[in-house]
Amino acid sequence: MANSNLPRRIIKETQRLLSEPAPGISASPSEDNMRYFNVMILGPTQSPYEGGVFKLELFLPEEYPMAAPKVRFLTKIYHPNIDKLGRICLDILKDKWSPALQIRTVLLSIQALLSAPNPDDPLSENIAKHWKSNEAEAVETAKEWTRLYASDA
């Protein structure tokens, strides 16, 4: 039902995501709802998340591409811009969304966010505070969490 009237743009994006996936990212649509994607992002090298496999969910709302996709981390992650519910603080998912962006670019942006946490625009106050007061320690915690929750997916 939900898939019968899928816009061509979504079909096209899906095909491209499957045929030429971005490095370190996999996204595949759910079988019963083509607007729902299971996403995996590898922790970028030289980041505290290296070696981790992070699961996310991504949903394309009815208005897509005029409205941003909804994305959420399913894997627990210690990151100042991601809260404990997995919600992500990223401008392009909110007011800076543009219909010229795609699922691929969104996921690449999230991957980049893992490489470059931004404690000045935090979603998780505590983690951000930790990050700013003692970055080395915060990075250790992030590594620990990666080991605990994001390994061996």
Partner: protein, 999 residues
């Protein structure tokens, strides 16, 4: 069930024992009591009594004790807390009334005797609770519990919720205080026993001193429509009834039992009118004017006195203009306040307090605001709306006012009017005195910017704000009509305009544009360098005041933020699109409380939209005393029309398309209809409103001339690739001069142009398909036209989806494609049926030397018209939005004075307002516009004072096309625009309407 403590139990217990106890304590008690709530409460209260009355924990509780007995009124109270924080000077406290309430016991085994004084304890601020979610709600709920105790027994019980709810905020702010004693109670108290208390409530006079600022701010900031208003509720609980009730109360509007038949008579009247009016050609004007009249009413102005203009005015005023002068002078004096001072504002009710000193308090039934000043609709306004219909000479009436009475703002000492005004205020009513108006003006809240201290403002003269097109005219009219040297005049416009307040204030009259106003408002924040907002104006006049109609627009906010002693709105169309337009005017005029959206919305907008005619009635009653509106049909005392203009002949010329045109139109229509039907099928008509309007636009343009569609609305210049490249590169080049700031890099542009040249087929970044009808943004990004338009935030502008640079719709360039049908309009020139008809008309007029204006909404059509004009040796000038002020003035001058220039080509929007073009006696409206008011306004440029010849107005409609349908829709549209329909109705009406167009 187990021993799990439910949230429900927890909150029940908490509501009785209060917030001092932690969740853990309550849960423990519930466990011990095996979830029996009563038992748990007892456990808690029995084990914890002592600390709860320990005065060393004042951070949680603010104690409000009974007042010290004033010498004359020996009330037996014994203050039990040392921290007396309220000044109990009995002059400040007024007894509101005595009443009874039923308290609930929260103790067991204690006792209270009748007559025993009770002490009320109010919790302090909301607990800054660390919990979120559920927990917070609970904490907030118990922070509203008001307890009472006696000296002997300690805490006895709590007062009922509805009392607590209205007392709490008032007591917290020290606006109200309560004392009471026990009237009746059971011998020995048990939990939840009733205790009858008799209470006396006192109100502090500070409530009235500050209320304006406080409550207005609340109203302005609050978007919540069901704000709880403690004071009226308290009065009700105390059994205090108004001796004069508000005509309008919130209840009136909240009850939705209105019979449908009452639904606004407005649309019906409007619909009936055209049929009654035999003269079909007159309909255009009537519809909108009638509508305005329905909403705002036409003043019975015959009785107004006349006032002779001062000798400095070199112009004879007509009698009705003298009336206007008299009226305006009176309005500025505030005379009308006398008249309305005797009637209570419809939203306020009056109460006699029980206090012996016989104070009357006025309460606003909507806002809960309280005052002891008599509230009248006119409290703050000096000025009003001069809404005479177009062509009656609002400009000259205003000029006569400027001459008759001018001065500098706020120099009260040598300010005859300001002075007389305050005197009038003082004697006008013995109940109250008007507070200092100028001071209040600064308190006008909701705007942060004009919060400067009044004394830092320079006193200025008159400020006139008008659309750019009218600057020259205002200047010219003042110069011709005012005796040389009696008013100094300065046009505040252009890049190099001085910002220095002194030099601005030094002139008697400063004229500026809405654009300057808005830009100085926004830049003012950055550096406080003076400009229009650093002056306290003697008078501000908004010409074409409907310019500020959208209340959220920068210009509207800016206008409202101006500081002035007198405010005037000039507009022939006080309502252009919706009732909301009035709101902005009232806000600018400071007609309180209507300048606050929450109130306007609640009392007028919502009821009106909901079909409650009282919303409309209220607007009328607000407007009646502040607005003067006469139309050309108004009559004077003897019943003669106030203004005799030469007759205007309105005519519609129906054109018949040629075979070729018809075929082309037919094909285009079919294509559009297929698309439209798709939208209908998907039920996504309103989602695709922009694209549908675009489809209609093409069809309408095709009615003017098929070339317009072939060139896709963009000027023909750009269809050629090389020219396109040149334009882009020029744009980049200009960037070096700083003219075009945000141009793409030269290299990028070259690449894009090269790509286009090679005909490379890219894909649209939005639909990911091959481009369909590609357009280029000024930042050189290529997208499908429809994709881009759909992504724009509104119909005319937005940001580029690729780079987020600002994009205006008119800046888009159609990218050329291989298979595009291109025409060289010069070489292949063909006349469309409309062009032929127009040329015929102009040829007929040529010999008479009579001048004509040709209106179109599309400048591209004006471009096209220049070809046959040149070929037929018709000399013309052109006025459109691209001209700057000097160029405009030059064009108007040439058209008015040069006898060989017979035609003025004018874009409907650019030249719509204010310009006086009475040199012409013919107007040709080439294409129908959605809103007849815009058309009407344009046409009225020639049919106005100064016109000596018979006027002919001809509108062109192509038969059997979308234009004909539009005529029908225009009438419906009016109804929709006027807000007479509810949201749902508007939605379905819109769809209906669009369907009508595609039949």
């Amino acid at each position: 069930m187990g021993s799990k403590v439910s949230d429900h139990h927890l909150s029940t217990v908490r509501s009785i024992v209060g917030s001092e106890f932690s969740d853990m304590e309550i849960i423990r008690a519930l466990h011990m009591a095996k979830n029996d709530v009563n038992a748990a409460i007892n456990i808690i209260l029995d084990t914890h009594t002592a600390p709860r009355f320990n005065p060393t924990r004042p951070n949680n509780q603010l104690s409000v004790s009974p007042p010290k007995p004033s010498p004359s009124t020996p009330i037996v109270t014994k203050p039990s807390f040392s921290e007396q924080r309220i000044d109990n000077n009995s002059d400040d406290w007024w007894l509101v009334n005595c009443g009874e309430m039923t308290g609930l016991s929260t103790c067991k085994g204690r006792s209270i005797n009748s007559g025993e004084t009770v002490i009320f304890k109010f919790p302090t601020k909301k607990l800054s609770s660390p919990f979120t979610g559920k927990g917070f709600g609970r904490a907030a709920a118990c922070s509203e519990i008001v307890r009472f105790s006696t000296e002997q027994a300690g805490e006895i019980g709590r007062i009922p919720k509805e009392w607590a709810r209205c007392l709490l905020p008032l007591v917290r702010d020290h606006k109200v205080r309560i004392e009471g004693n026990c009237k009746f109670a059971p011998q020995v108290l048990g939990i939840m026993d009733s205790i009858i208390l008799s209470v006396s409530v006192f109100i502090n006079s500070s409530m009235f001193a500050k209320h304006h600022q406080v409550s207005l701010k609340d109203a302005a900031n609050s978007t919540d429509e069901s704000v709880f208003h403690p004071l009226p509720t308290l009065f009700r609980l105390l059994g205090l009834n108004p001796f004069k009730e508000a005509e309008l109360t919130p209840g009136d509007f909240y009850s939705n039992k209105r019979p449908l038949s009452e639904k606004v008579t407005l649309p019906r009247a409007k619909f009936e009118h055209p049929s009654q009016n035999g003269n079909e050609n007159d309909n255009e004007e009537s519809i909108s004017e009638i509508e305005v009249e329905n909403i705002v009413g036409v003043g019975s102005s015959e009785e107004l006195e006349e006032m002779d203009p001062p000798a400095n005015l070199q112009c004879n005023l007509r009698p009705y203009q003298k009336q206007a002068l008299y009226w305006m002078i009176q309005m500025e004096k505030g005379k009308c306040m006398d008249e309305t001072a005797t009637t209570l504002h419809p939203c306020w009710e009056a109460y006699h307090l029980a206090d012996k000193r016989e104070l009357i308090i006025y309460l606003n039934a909507f806002s809960g605001e309280a005052t002891i000043e008599f509230p009248s609709t006119l409290q703050m306004a000096r000025g009003g709306i001069l809404a005479d219909a177009m062509g009656l000479g609002k400009t000259i009436m205003t000029i006569s006012l400027l001459v008759a009475h001018s001065g500098k703002g706020e120099s009260v000492g040598n300010q005859p009017i300001a002075k007389s005004f305050t005197e009038v205020g003082e004697v006008s009513d013995n109940v109250h005195t008007f507070s200092n108006i100028p001071k209040k003006a600064t308190k006008f809240s909701g705007f942060d910017k004009p919060t400067k201290q009044m004394n830092s403002l320079t006193s200025g003269g008159n400020l006139i704000i008008c659309p750019m097109t009218l600057l020259g005219q205002w200047k010219a009219e003042i110069e011709t009509h005012v005796h040389l040297g009696s008013l100094s005049l300065y046009v505040h416009y252009g890049q190099s305009r001085p910002k220095d307040a002194k030099s601005l204030a030094h002139n008697d009259v400063v004229i500026t544009t809405y654009g300057i106003l808005a830009s100085e408002f926004s830049s003012e924040n950055a550096d406080d360098n003076g400009g229009l907002f650093s002056i306290r104006w003697f008078r501000v006049v908004l010409d074409e005041a409907h310019t500020i109609k959208s209340s959220k627009s920068q210009v509207s906010v800016a206008a409202a933020a101006l500081i002035a002693d007198r405010r005037w709105c000039l507009t022939g169309t006080p309502i252009q699109n919706s009732l909301e337009d009035i709101y902005s005017l009232l806000r600018f005029l400071r007609i309180e409380p209507w300048g606050h959206w929450a109130w306007w919305n609640k009392l007028i907008q919502k009821p009106f939209e909901g079909g409650d005619e009282r919303g409309l009635k209220l607007v009328q009653s607000i407007l009646k005393p502040i607005m003067l509106r006469r139309t050309k049909h108004s009559t004077d005392r003897e019943g003669k029309p106030i203004l005799v203009l030469p007759p205007a002949d309105m005519q519609v010329i129906y054109c018949e398309q040629t075979k070729a045109e018809k075929d082309f139109y037919g094909a285009l229509f079919k294509r559009s209809k297929v698309k439209f039907d798709q939208f209908v099928e998907q039920g996504r008509v309103l989602h695709n409103y922009a694209s549908i309007l675009e489809l209609l636009l093409r069809l309408r343009q095709c009615c003017d001339h098929p070339f317009l569609v072939m060139s896709r609305g963009d000027t023909q210049d750009f269809a050629d690739l090389n020219k396109l490249a040149k334009r882009f590169l020029r744009g980049t080049y200009n960037a070096l001069d700083g003219e075009v700031k945000e141009a793409p890099s030269r290299a990028y542009v070259q690449e894009v142009v090269e790509e286009l040249r090679k005909g490379e087929q890219g894909e649209c970044p939005i639909c990911l398909e091959a481009f369909e009808d590609a357009v280029l943004t000024p930042c050189a990004h290529r997208l499908c036209r429809e994709c881009l338009l759909a992504s724009l935030r509104n119909a005319t502008s937005g940001v580029c989806p690729v780079c987020r640079k600002a994009v205006n719709r008119q800046d888009l360039i159609t990218a050329p494609t291989e298979n595009r049908f291109q025409v060289d309009i010069e070489k292949n020139w063909v006349e469309s049926c409309k062009v032929t008809a127009l040329l015929n008309e102009l040829q007929n007029l040529r010999s008479s030397g009579s001048k004509s204006i040709v209106f179109s909404q599309w400048t591209a059509f004006l471009d096209l018209l220049q070809i046959p004009f040149a070929r037929n040796n018709i000399s013309f000038v052109r006025l459109d939005g691209t001209l700057n002020l000097q160029q405009r003035e030059k064009v108007i001058k040439q058209f008015s004075e040069d006898s060989t220039t017979l035609v003025l080509l004018m874009s409907l929007k650019a030249g719509g307002v204010g310009i006086n073009l009475t040199a012409a006696s013919n107007a040709f409206v080439m294409d129908p516009w959605w809103n007849p008011a815009v058309e009407e306004q344009a046409v009225m440029r020639i049919h106005r004072i100064g016109q000596t010849k018979k006027v002919a107005i001809k509108r062109f409609i192509v038969k059997g096309t979308v234009e004909e349908r539009m005529e029908a829709v225009q009438a419906r549209k009016q109804r929709m625009i006027s807000g007479a329909l509810t949201d749902q109705e508007v939605r379905s009406a819109r769809i209906e309407e669009l369907k009508m167009l595609f039949t």
